[in-house]
């Protein structure tokens, strides 16, 4: 097998070690490789921010070789739960690593001073960058771009103030418009004193001889661009989901106090965003679909004169749910203004919006007051939310420091846990039913992307616990295979297991192609072993009351079924983790 090539950067000394691991190739790449490396580097007995804990960035065997094989998996110890966590991002991250000649970049240790890591095919350095500390995530990248060569062929991953302050809501911004978003990877980087990682991809790789590879590439490219399969992502993008989910009574509004708002959805639809705020599109490197939708924010900054500034902000379904419907902000440009603030602060948009929604309801109920917040929070009050985002990122005042730890953490201090919309971390935007709530609450990444549970709910299946658990386990295995290659999950209908085997064979990795079903199951189990090794008990997860009060098109939640499904899935996770020795 081709060895996996890993660059291990020691942040405390500024030195690096190149490792070639033939045996690690069996873990494919991405999720599988990250979990495998995590098992070697991470320390279950130490805190999440211990210097020895690794941050791992891994790509897969197909990265760059085929379209939409364009994502990178970041694995780290989460400040939210203290265990194995993954967050995935695109942008140029994956191709930059590929052309830097690396399958994975592993950061260990803690830099003595705020620093920037720069890695390339023929370069590695850890440079002092104290002047960047405290700078917003967008401005800091402008300076780094000026300092580094390789425009277009580099990827810059950086944190904002939220990461420096080690908030579990801190993300890593990737190339301005993409993110390693969830579970606090920005804090993991901040805890290492790393403001940014820049990867320059300046080398090339050999390709197989003969016509087979190029022909397969062309076939897949055609499937991705000429057929209807990807039209949704190409056209309105993921915001296309807003209107249908609202019609289904499955779109969270006002801290999940409602699941539909027929009067307001007209201004919050994907079409309305496109008509009023869409500036242009962009793509991850290696993806011809170009699902990135970039809107604009235009602000008059001198009230008496016609002086404006404008900013470009990428938008998707999830940020619109979190900073729009969840906060009852109904004007696209106002949602984008909030999103711009979140970007600069380096917060995860979903967590920030859901946490603010909790704080707003807590204030409505009198659990917290302006004496705590210094602001009057009210649903739809964009101006107050803009200020709140800055305060939360900077952990200014006691209340905002608590909220920056998560809505559930703040509720532990002030009360209101019943309506903290937290399922492992702040919820994703799907009030579709029991299967989704259980999937996010227990899922390995506590993400809507762990399984297709939101689609499962929407198919309106009978309440069959065994069938639902079977779906969750089998769908996760398929997704683990994709995130080990590392494919964009939007391409999951194109990259069937058979197609993936064809792709591996076409680039001379036949040895990996033949056993994909078994490999998927092994990697699925390995990830769960890592999650449980740090103390996660799936049986101990609780789902806040707010989720049991939800009413969708199918009627009220069935609390008995919810509890039964939760228990059954927890047992299935334990069984998965026990399948092979850790």
């Amino acid at each position: 097998m081709n060895p996996v090539v890993i660059l291990e950067v020691h942040l405390d000394t500024g030195t690096a070690r190149l490792r070639r691991l033939p045996e690690a190739r069996a873990a494919l790449g991405g999720s599988g490789l990250a979990a495998t490396l995590f098992s070697q580097y991470a320390r279950p007995t130490e805190a999440w921010d211990h210097p020895d804990q690794p941050i791992i960035f891994a790509i897969g065997p197909l990265t760059g070789y085929f379209p939409l094989m364009s994502k990178t998996v970041c694995a780290f110890v989460s400040p939210r739960h203290g265990g194995y966590a993954e967050s995935h991002a695109g942008g140029r991250s994956a191709l930059a690593l590929r052309f830097a000649g690396l399958d994975a970049l592993v950061l260990v240790g803690r830099a003595p001073r705020p620093s920037v890591v720069h890695v390339g095919a023929h370069h590695v350095s850890v440079q002092d960058a104290g002047y960047l500390w405290g700078m917003d995530a967008l401005s800091c990248a402008k300076l780094i771009r000026r300092q580094l060569s390789g425009s277009g062929h580099r990827s810059i991953w950086r944190i904002g103030v939220a990461g420096e302050r080690k908030s579990p809501m801190a993300c890593i911004n990737v190339d301005t418009f993409r993110h390693f978003g969830r579970l606090g990877c920005g804090a993991a980087l901040g805890a290492k004193n790393i403001k940014a990682v820049a990867v320059t991809g300046e080398d090339h790789q050999p390709l197989p001889t003969g016509k087979k590879y190029a022909a397969l590439y062309a076939d897949i490219f055609r499937d991705l661009t000429d057929t209807e399969m990807m039209h949704k992502y190409h056209n309105l993008g993921t915001p296309e989901n807003l209107e249908p989910l609202d019609a289904l009574q499955a779109l969270p509004w006002r801290n999940l106090q409602a699941t539909s708002n027929p009067e307001a959805i007209g201004t919050m639809s994907g079409q309305h965003f496109a008509d009023t705020a869409l500036l242009r599109n962009a793509a991850c490197a290696g993806c011809p679909v170009g699902c990135v939708h970039i809107g604009f924010v235009r602000e008059k900054f001198l009230p008496q004169d016609n002086r404006y500034l404008y900013r470009q902000v990428s938008y998707d379904y999830e940020p619109i749910f979190a900073l729009g419907t969840m906060l009852d902000v109904r004007v696209p440009t106002e949602v984008l203004a909030l999103l711009d603030d979140v970007e600069k602060a380096g917060l995860d948009a979903m967590s920030a919006g859901v946490a603010l929604a909790w704080a707003t309801e807590a204030m409505e109920r009198g659990i917290i007051t302006e004496a705590h917040t210094g602001l009057h929070l009210a649903f739809g009050a964009t101006h107050a939310y803009r200020e709140a985002i800055a305060r939360m990122a900077e952990a200014r005042q006691e209340f905002w420091a608590h909220l920056a730890q998560g809505a559930d953490a703040a509720a532990q201090v002030y009360g209101g846990a019943d309506f903290a919309c937290v399922l492992g971390q702040e919820m994703a935007g799907y009030a579709t039913g029991e299967t989704f709530f259980v999937s996010q609450a227990l899922g390995l990444r506590h993400s809507h992307l762990d399984t297709g549970a939101y689609s499962y709910d929407q198919a309106n299946p009978p309440k069959d616990t065994a069938a639902a658990v079977r779906f969750l386990v089998e769908d996760e295995a398929e997704r683990v295979l994709l995130t080990s290659m590392v494919a964009c999950l939007f391409a999951r209908k194109v990259y069937t297991r058979e197609r993936l085997a064809e792709c591996l064979a076409a680039i001379g990795q036949e040895d990996l192609a033949g056993e994909l079903a078994a490999t998927a199951r092994t990697l699925q189990a390995r990830r769960w072993q890592q999650r449980l090794a740090f103390g996660f008990d799936p049986m101990a997860v609780s789902i806040p009351r707010r989720f049991t009060e939800v009413v969708t098109w199918r009627g009220p939640m069935d609390t008995h079924y919810l509890a039964e499904l939760q228990q059954a899935y927890a047992r299935a996770i334990q069984a998965l983790a026990a399948e092979t020795p850790a």
């Binding site: 790789q205 590439y217 242009r280």
Partner: protein, 134 residues
């Protein structure tokens, strides 16, 4: 005579499919850099994208700078390249006024040969193979 023209770069989404196609089909490499057409942003992704590609100068200054005749003027502009004659001196690289020629660490050079194999891989129709008088 055909000539590749990056006619609608304001539509470009930065997917690099053109560069990857050139590297894959012309140079038999996996690369976004070692290709006859390369995409860069002009200072961050908010500023849009530009193509580093041969503008088909006639006469081409890169051919004039080539001491061995590896690059020769092509009818209709640009150059034809005889790889066997290239001594990897790299003099063509600075001779190009628009930075369209790349050189890798081994000394190999990459310049657009106006074959058009990248064109069908552009999802936004930024590129075209135009007919020019030779």
């Amino acid at each position: 005579m055909k000539r590749l023209v990056a006619a609608r770069m304001d539509r470009c989404i930065g997917c690099h499919s053109c560069s990857l196609a050139c590297a894959r089909l012309v140079h038999k490499l996996l690369s976004w850099e070692h290709a006859g057409i390369r995409i860069s942003s002009s200072g961050g992704l908010t500023t849009g994208f530009q193509a580093e590609v041969c503008l088909a100068c006639d006469p081409p200054p890169c051919a004039a700078a080539c001491p061995t005749g590896s690059l020769k003027a092509r009818p209709g502009g640009g150059v034809v390249r005889n790889k066997n004659l290239c001594i990897q001196c790299g003099q063509c690289v600075p001779a190009c006024p628009v930075g369209a020629i790349a050189q890798d660490r081994a000394g190999d050079i990459y310049v657009c040969i106006h074959c058009g194999q990248c064109v069908p891989f552009c999802p936004h129709d930024c590129l075209e193979l135009a007919e020019v008088e030779s």
